[in-house]
């Protein structure tokens, strides 16, 4: 399944139920661009375990502010709307896979 693009219009609805991994990113951020293909691949591999989504902090600053995003990339794992895990900075794919499997 492809990665869903989140905006302030669909954010709350999309994270409300199920396991959702959200990548907070921005175009100017090199490490964010490096993380993108890693998460693309993981989204395909774990499509039955989690929904993968991303939020452009430049386009949606209020949502970024709501979650206190102070460094990018930041990845937040939500389950039924609750924050379960937060990972700041680029992590190996295995780290994201583990938090999804253990949620």
């Amino acid at each position: 399944m492809a990665i869903i693009n989140l905006t302030k219009d669909n954010f709350d609805e999309k994270i409300k139920t199920g396991t959702v991994l959200v990548d907070f990113w921005a175009d100017w951020c090199g490490p964010c661009r490096m993380l993108a293909p890693i998460l693309d691949e993981l989204a395909e591999k774990l499509s039955d375990k989690a929904v993968f989504a991303k939020l452009d902090v430049d386009a949606e600053p209020e949502i970024a502010q709501r979650y206190g995003i102070s460094s990018i990339p930041t990845v937040i794992l939500f389950k039924d709307g609750q924050i379960k895990e937060t990972k700041v900075g680029v992590q190996p794919a295995a780290v994201y896979e583990k938090i999804i499997n253990e949620v």
């Binding site: 490490p31 970024a64 102070s70 992590q91």
Partner: protein, 288 residues
């Protein structure tokens, strides 16, 4: 997956240069990622007494000669700080500046290890403290930030943050605040401490508390285990075997980052061994 270079060398000091030259001579493509070499402490050394054949050469002349050697071989050296390396299994992604490159193998030649973080720095990194103005600057648009300048590009980074729209205060124990854009405040200080529970609350400069929304620190390099999570480090040094192989397949290390003595000759020797090992690693995988 395609990897666009054979070997990425992280660090352009003697170890990195030697690794790049020897990789090139073994017929593999190589790119060095480095800060400006003229800001290296070696460049300021007045006299190097123990380089065989070059008695009493200055650090500057030695490094200039090494860079001429790279140029004569047309080896690419990209001036950028590497912030993150991702192990993709068959190769690596390297994030440098606002782009990322890919390589089949990596040689870490990141230099003298910085083992002393300011109190509170490691805990609050990513929670108000950042090493990357280009990555995180925009998140602090219109907010109060401090930049602790420890490297040559500190002034440039401070100006960049100012241009983004941050309210910048520049502090450096060593760098003169010349060429800062108007509007950037300057504070003097050399002892720093960070205060905050889960998020940065204040920066204590020489015992005086100042409130900032964010603090940027320009360090010469990101600590190797932050750069590449999972890397085996002991006392701050990257652990390597005799072939300069680390615990991660395809990742090699050379020079001061592997431990003492901090000597140019040791660095160049290890750089060569790392190059031999990395090229053999690529050949073995391609033949398999």
């Amino acid at each position: 997956m395609e990897y666009n270079i054979d070997i990425a060398v992280i660090g352009g000091g003697p170890a990195g240069i030697s690794a790049a030259i020897n990789t090139h001579l073994r017929g593999k493509s190589v790119t060095i990622f480095t800060n400006s070499y003229k800001s290296s402490p070696l460049y300021k050394a007045k006299k190097v007494e123990n380089y065989p054949g070059l008695p009493d050469i200055s650090g500057a002349k030695l490094l200039d000669g090494m860079y001429d050697h790279l140029k004569s071989m047309k080896i690419t050296a990209i001036k950028a700080q590497v912030l993150s390396i991702a192990d993709m299994g068959e190769g690596f992604y390297i994030s440098a500046g606002s782009e990322f490159q890919s390589a089949k193998a990596v040689i870490l030649a990141t230099g003298v290890v910085q083992t002393s973080f300011y109190p509170g720095e490691s805990e609050l990194l990513g929670h108000g403290i950042s090493y990357c103005a280009t990555c995180d600057g925009m998140l602090y648009k219109g907010k109060r930030v401090a930049l602790i300048g420890l490297t040559g590009d500190a002034l440039e980074e401070a100006n960049q943050l100012h241009d983004i729209g941050c309210d910048v205060t520049f502090i450096s124990p060593s760098i003169k605040p010349d060429k800062l854009k108007p509007g950037i405040k300057v504070l003097k200080g050399s002892k720093f401490e960070f205060k905050g529970e889960k998020k940065l609350k204040a920066l204590i400069i020489d015992g005086v508390e100042h409130e900032f929304d964010g603090v940027f620190i320009t360090r010469a390099s990101v600590a190797p285990d932050l750069l590449l999570p999972g890397l085996d480090i002991k006392d701050g040094f990257i652990q390597v075997d005799k072939k300069m192989q680390t615990n991660i397949a395809g990742v090699f290390a050379a020079g001061d980052c592997t431990g003492k003595p901090n000597q140019i000759l040791k660095a160049t020797g290890q750089g060569q061994i790392a190059a031999f090992s990395a090229t053999a690693y690529i050949d073995e995988r391609e033949q398999a």
